[in-house]
């Protein structure tokens, strides 16, 4: 007994020593990193900060795309980049404050839920450029640019494909929170499907309001399972981790990739959610990375303007399903996507 206690004591001591010793060696590296954003106020330095919604920069869809865009743009123009991941919706302002305190030049806030907090912060810090991803600006604030997308067009294209591909005439969508960008995706999806196939029935389900609306894969999987049981054979999973949960569930279902398909969202999820590959025919994408990096670069050269900046939207590559989706279907969908782009086809979606 006594020996065991001594052993426990020694091991705790060892842990303390380990923590202390490794601490002292890292100090130099730390101060070096801190130097990078210590003079953001200076004209020659360009500092870009990013605040995520309640999600991580590796969420494999929304936040990750914006993060990659901002990071790439900052690197391209020789700027410094840093991010904070929000863990509590009450901390949006405090997290943006970390960047404004250090006089960052550009702050990217990711997500519709941060719209109000971003407007408040932009008005309080007129010398900082704010980029609000997915934040429609009703009133123009000179130093705030909302990056918005025609999500209804991406949804419409995906829905058109689903309408042509369904055998059961039943399709569904498993969605994140019922907020404008998600609604646009969902309504576009439904409109596209109906346009391709008037007989199709679309089941739509939004995550109930909660702080994990875009990070609830368990709920997403359960809803996907429910829709499959009701006979849906193509399901659109749109809502960060929640949607990913649905995609992965469908990929494991019987007939995945032959009778049952899924459609991803935001980015080409063939690459970001490889677990979904067995069923993933395409993704309804919006140019998050491109739009974010464009705006950061515009902020760098000073050509950015307040108000809204419309990014791109469309559907991703078919990847391995290029041989499964019939050629005539591919042609029709390509025609519709092109029509949406040039304005000859309207989605007719209104919120």
């Amino acid at each position: 007994m006594k020996r065991m206690r001594t052993l426990a004591g020694i091991s705790i001591l060892a842990l303390v020593l380990a923590a202390c010793s490794s601490g002292s060696t890292d100090t130099a590296a730390d101060t070096a990193a801190a130097l990078d954003d210590s003079n953001c106020a200076a004209a020659e330095s360009f500092c870009v900060g990013l605040v995520t919604d309640i999600s991580k920069v590796d969420d494999k869809s929304f936040n990750q795309s914006a993060h990659e865009g901002a990071m790439a743009a900052a690197a391209e123009v020789g700027g410094f980049y840093k991010y904070i991941e929000t863990t509590d919706t009450k901390d949006y302002a405090a997290n943006m404050g970390q960047f404004t305190d250090k006089s960052y030049d550009v702050i990217v806030t990711v997500g519709f839920l941060m719209a109000e907090a971003t407007v408040t912060a932009a008005k309080a810090n007129p010398n900082t450029k704010f980029i609000g991803v997915d934040q429609f600006q009703g009133e123009v604030v000179a130093n705030l640019t909302g990056l918005i997308f025609p999500e209804d067009q991406a949804g419409y294209g995906a829905g058109y494909l689903a309408g042509l591909m369904t055998k059961t005439n039943k399709i569904g969508s498993v969605l994140g929170l019922e907020i404008a960008p998600v609604q646009l995706f969902a309504k576009g999806f439904e409109a596209g499907a109906k346009a391709a196939n008037p007989k199709v029935a679309v089941t739509t389900v939004y995550h109930p309001p909660a702080d994990n609306g875009f990070g609830d894969p368990v709920w997403g999987a359960a809803e996907a399972k429910k829709q499959l049981a009701q006979g849906a054979d193509i399901i659109f999973g749109a809502g960060g981790g929640t949607g990913n949960g649905a995609l992965i569930e469908i990929a494991k279902a019987e007939g995945a990739g032959t009778a049952v398909f899924c459609i991803g969202v935001d980015t080409d999820q063939w690459g970001t959610v490889p677990e979904a590959q067995p069923c993933l025919i395409t993704s309804a994408v919006k140019g998050l990375t491109l739009g974010t990096s464009d705006l950061v670069k515009k902020a760098f050269d000073g050509s950015i303007a307040g108000g809204n900046f419309v990014g791109t939207a469309g559907i991703a590559d078919y990847h391995d399903f290029a041989s499964v989706v019939p050629m005539d279907v591919q042609d029709k969908v390509a025609g519709v996507v092109a029509g949406l782009k040039d304005g000859s086809i309207k989605t007719g979606v209104k919120l």
């Binding site: 842990l15 923590a19 730390d30 991941e85 919706t89 929170l177 019922e178 609604q183 109930p208 702080d211």
Partner: protein, 363 residues
């Protein structure tokens, strides 16, 4: 026995007698050491990381305000669970009680008008307390008259509360022209003010904490609560009305959690949105266990958790460490505190000897 040996055993005796203080502090220490190792594995000096947390949370006026704001509902949720534990009830439903109260006080803040400022705040707080108490009271009545275990009923009532609140904020009480599911803003007259960096709600929480301590330790009602909690058969034999105690215990517990939700709405968020109060009630369980069901100890426990949460953002900004490390620290602490087996193993042998010695020497 020589003099030095007696001194040694007395020292260990001191630790044993003050286990309720020593164990949590040792647990926090070990958690910070283990957390430090995790942080240094990511190439960051743990001392720099911890300094980032504490300098943001305590030595920055905005940060200090947020620390107090985050601490307030934690104190009350911790007290709610503590009171339950004293009566022998494990109230896991503080979350459900807290969120229903948060909505109730928001509605009182929005739809009751024409009240003078101070009265409006009191009425709105009261609405929250009542709703929280009644929500917990359901579990109390079920336990007292139907024998339904409170762990089951309170956790189920959490889900029911979430469902009802989702409906209420997405239909009858949703803010007009707003796609987010949330209520309107409360009236100016219902806002709980801040005194500099000290939110009024924090002061209120401290007062309530003292009151609960006094009630549990100095009053007949508190004596009954403790007796029921320690041995319900003895309590019944002594003529204490068990059913009444169970129901009032739950009402009190729910009222405290409700006050936490009400302060959150009236002092910080100014409206109800389901995402706002995530996890606060569950943090209350952490705090009550950390405080070992001692009402006064909930204050330092809640301050610890509040500090870590408030400093988390700065931690990522300064060092790039993900804010979730804070949850790792809390989880390790809780694991150690709630693993009395380990403590017993470490202290037991010596403790018995020490007891023998002291009784042998007649002191």
């Amino acid at each position: 026995m020589t003099l030095t040996e007696t001194k040694n055993t007395n020292k260990i005796g001191f630790f044993v007698r003050n286990q309720s203080i020593v164990v949590p502090i040792a647990a926090i220490f070990v958690a910070f050491v283990l957390g430090g190792i995790l942080i240094s594995l990511q190439g960051v000096n743990p001392l720099v990381a911890y300094r980032a947390i504490f300098s943001e949370a305590w030595f920055d006026s905005d940060g200090l305000l947020r620390t107090f704001q985050k601490t307030t509902p934690l104190i009350l949720a911790g007290l709610a669970v503590t009171v339950g534990l004293r009566v022998g009830l494990f109230n896991i439903g503080a979350q459900g009680q807290l969120i229903s109260a948060a909505l109730a006080s928001a509605l009182a803040g929005i739809y009751i008008t024409n009240l003078p400022p101070i009265l409006h705040v009191i009425v709105a707080l009261f609405c929250g307390v009542i709703v929280g108490a009644l929500w917990a009271g359901i579990a109390g009545v079920l336990k007292a008259y139907r024998g339904v275990h409170e762990v089951i009923s309170t956790i189920m009532l959490n889900s029911i509360a979430i469902g009802i609140l989702d409906y209420l904020v997405s239909n009858p009480f949703q803010e007009p022209d707003q796609s987010l599911q949330r209520t309107k803003k409360i009236a100016e007259t219902a806002v709980l003010p801040n005194f500099g960096v000290i939110p009024f709600g924090f002061i209120l929480a401290l007062i309530i904490c003292l009151l609960v301590y006094w009630m549990l330790n100095k009053t007949t009602a508190g004596f009954r609560f403790n007796t029921v909690g320690k041995n319900k058969f003895a309590a019944t034999y002594a003529g204490i009305n068990m059913k009444l105690m169970v129901v009032t215990g739950m009402l009190l517990s729910g009222g405290l959690a409700g006050l936490g939700g009400a302060i959150e709405t009236l002092g910080i968020t100014y409206r109800f949105e389901p995402a706002f109060n995530a996890g606060l009630g569950f943090d209350g369980i952490t705090i009550a266990l950390l405080a070992r069901a001692n009402p006064l100890a909930t204050i330092p426990a809640a301050i610890l958790v509040g500090t870590l949460r408030a400093g988390g953002a700065s931690l990522q900004f300064e060092t790039g460490i993900e804010p979730e490390i804070v949850d790792v620290l809390l989880a390790i602490t809780l694991l150690l505190v709630s693993a009395p087996i380990l403590a017993k193993y470490l202290f037991k042998g010596k403790a018995q000897k020490s007891a023998n010695v002291t009784s042998g020497w007649g002191n």
